[in-house]
């Protein structure tokens, strides 16, 4: 029933996020004849980032946040007094948000496939599916940053904190590039299956490990929080 509750909370916001991202892609597809694969990959990457930011902004991760914000919403009190562990509460909320992000990525990749002929001519459907999988797995690390931030930041700072964090990460990635094998930005772009026709397994494993560590940190925050 927690999944059901989460779905009721987030379904309209999910649609809004997908509409905004789809419009972004559609506007970019006007120049699709001139687009190259790297350009399309850039659009896909930006869409994933936008999804994460919108998820934070829309409170999808933390609608009825599990954080001790001032003026705690009463229905959060109702949730916290149900016979459910905080681990399960966080896991369901984060899991649902991830599924929605993954669904969004799948939708984005389908749109890209159909709207950009350059993709269809340079990659197979299998490689496009692999690219979607890379985005989902590598995107999980960025998504879990949102999850962690949402457990420590209150409503006002959740969006700005996420924006600042992603901006800082992007800047750092340019200034101090991580080793290629674990560089998530490269795995989602230059080293993605659409260009290299290979899966960046090391980067994906690193992303999963990082996502797990961030989720564990968020869990610890939630477990020690007072409400």
């Amino acid at each position: 029933m927690l999944w059901y509750k989460g779905w009721l909370e987030t379904r309209f916001r999910l649609v809004l996020v997908l509409v905004v991202v789809a419009l972004l892609i559609l506007t970019q597809s006007n120049g699709s004849a001139k687009a190259d694969v790297r350009g399309v990959i850039f659009i896909a990457g930006m869409s994933v980032w936008l999804q994460c930011i919108f998820l934070a902004a829309a409170g999808i991760v933390t609608q009825q946040s599990l954080q001790a914000a001032k003026g705690l919403h009463g229905s959060t009190l109702f949730t916290l007094t149900l016979p459910v562990s905080r681990f399960r509460l966080l896991a369901v909320r984060a899991g649902l948000g991830w599924l929605e992000m993954a669904g969004g990525i799948g939708t984005i990749c389908c749109l890209l496939w159909f709207l950009f002929p350059v993709i269809r001519s340079s990659a197979t459907p299998q490689e496009m599916a692999q690219f979607a999988a890379v985005l989902m797995v590598c995107g999980s690390a960025f998504y879990c940053i949102t999850v962690l931030l949402a457990t420590v930041l209150d409503d006002l700072w959740r969006v700005w904190g996420s924006l600042l964090c992603y901006g800082a990460l992007g800047w750092l990635a340019n200034k101090i590039p991580a080793p290629a094998a674990v560089n998530l930005f490269q795995a989602m772009s230059d080293r993605s299956p659409l260009l290299t026709h290979r899966m960046p397994w090391t980067a994906m494993a690193f992303a999963l490990g990082l996502a797990a560590a961030l989720f564990f940190a968020a869990l610890k925050v939630v477990q020690i929080r007072e409400y």
Binding site: Q64, L77, T81, L82
Partner: protein
């Protein structure tokens, strides 16, 4: 198995250096209807939140069903056996009455469909109506249904009749007593409506500044306390010092009003020994006991 469903011992809790609980001792007998009273800021909500596992005490202990509320692994078991009504009566704004019942039901294996149907009908709750469209009183009733229908052994109610009109309040109080009697449910409720507490509670505790100042059977407390009025004749004067047992003395011209907590007969005898004094005894209400204790604390 303890005779007490809730036991706290020297419970302390501070928020940013400000003490909310200062060594709270509380014992709630199994099967009782327990009124938990105190002024605003006395520590009632802090106590309730600690019992529900939402806050961690700085020191001391709190047991519910004999289980420490700090035991995270078993805290889920505690909450599975408790029905809780929050003070603000807020529920999920995107759900209807029917949806929130359907959502809550699976968490409680002992959910009572018969009580659900009974209170849906009695409280006239519209199943298809969205929760934000309900009045505060109706939301209070919905929360009570969600608490009672889960088949809980313990109901923790924070201002359960807040927002209800007098007729609805009467119905709710009657139903709470009926549930306590028929299901053996222990009821622990916090309320500012002393008249209501006096109507249904058999045990009470008054807390002030984070400590218990009075606790026990309501009947025993009311039997113990008496108000004695002494009207003096023209030449008579009140004694310089009253015998032991006088909680407070209020002088109004030629009349002295005494609140006695024990040794009543000796106080009456002392008053009657004053030449020309007319002495009367009255029972006290819970409100008088409450006001006397919080003011003198």
């Amino acid at each position: 198995m303890s005779d007490f469903i809730i036991e706290t011992s020297q419970l302390t809790k501070s928020f940013k250096g400000h003490p909310a609980l200062r060594g709270l001792d509380l014992r709630v007998p199994v099967g009782s209807i327990f009124g938990f009273l105190g002024r605003n800021g006395a520590g009632k909500t802090t106590t309730i939140k600690t019992l529900m596992g939402l806050l961690r005490s700085d020191s001391g202990s709190a047991l519910v069903f004999g289980i420490s509320v700090q035991d995270e692994k078993r805290s889920v078991d505690i909450r599975r056996r408790i029905g809780f009504v929050t003070e603000d009566k807020e529920l999920y704004p995107y759900m209807t009455v029917e949806q929130i019942i359907r959502f809550t039901r699976p968490f409680f294996p002992k959910w009572r469909d018969d009580l659900e149907r009974r209170y849906l009908r009695m409280f006239e709750l519209p199943p298809a109506k969205k929760i934000p469209d309900l009045s505060k009183g109706t939301r209070s009733k919905l929360m009570l249904l969600l608490a009672i229908a889960r088949g809980a052994e313990l109901l923790i109610l924070d201002e359960p009749t807040d927002g209800l009109d007098p007729a609805a309040t009467e119905d709710v109080l009657r139903e709470l007593v009926a549930v306590a009697a028929s299901e053996g449910t222990t009821m622990f409720f916090s309320s500012h409506q002393l008249g209501e507490v006096e109507t249904i509670a058999d045990q009470i505790a008054i807390i002030d500044q984070g400590k218990t100042i009075v606790a026990g059977s309501l009947d025993d407390l009311k039997a113990r306390y008496q108000r004695i009025t002494v009207v003096f004749g023209e030449l008579a004067q009140a004694p310089a010092r009253w015998v032991e047992g006088v909680e407070s003395v209020r002088e109004e011209g030629r009349m002295v009003s005494i609140l006695a907590s024990n040794n009543v007969e000796a106080i009456v005898e002392q008053a009657r020994s004053i030449p020309g004094a007319a002495v009367e005894r009255f029972p006290v209400t819970l409100k008088e006991i409450f006001l006397e204790h919080v003011r003198s604390n």
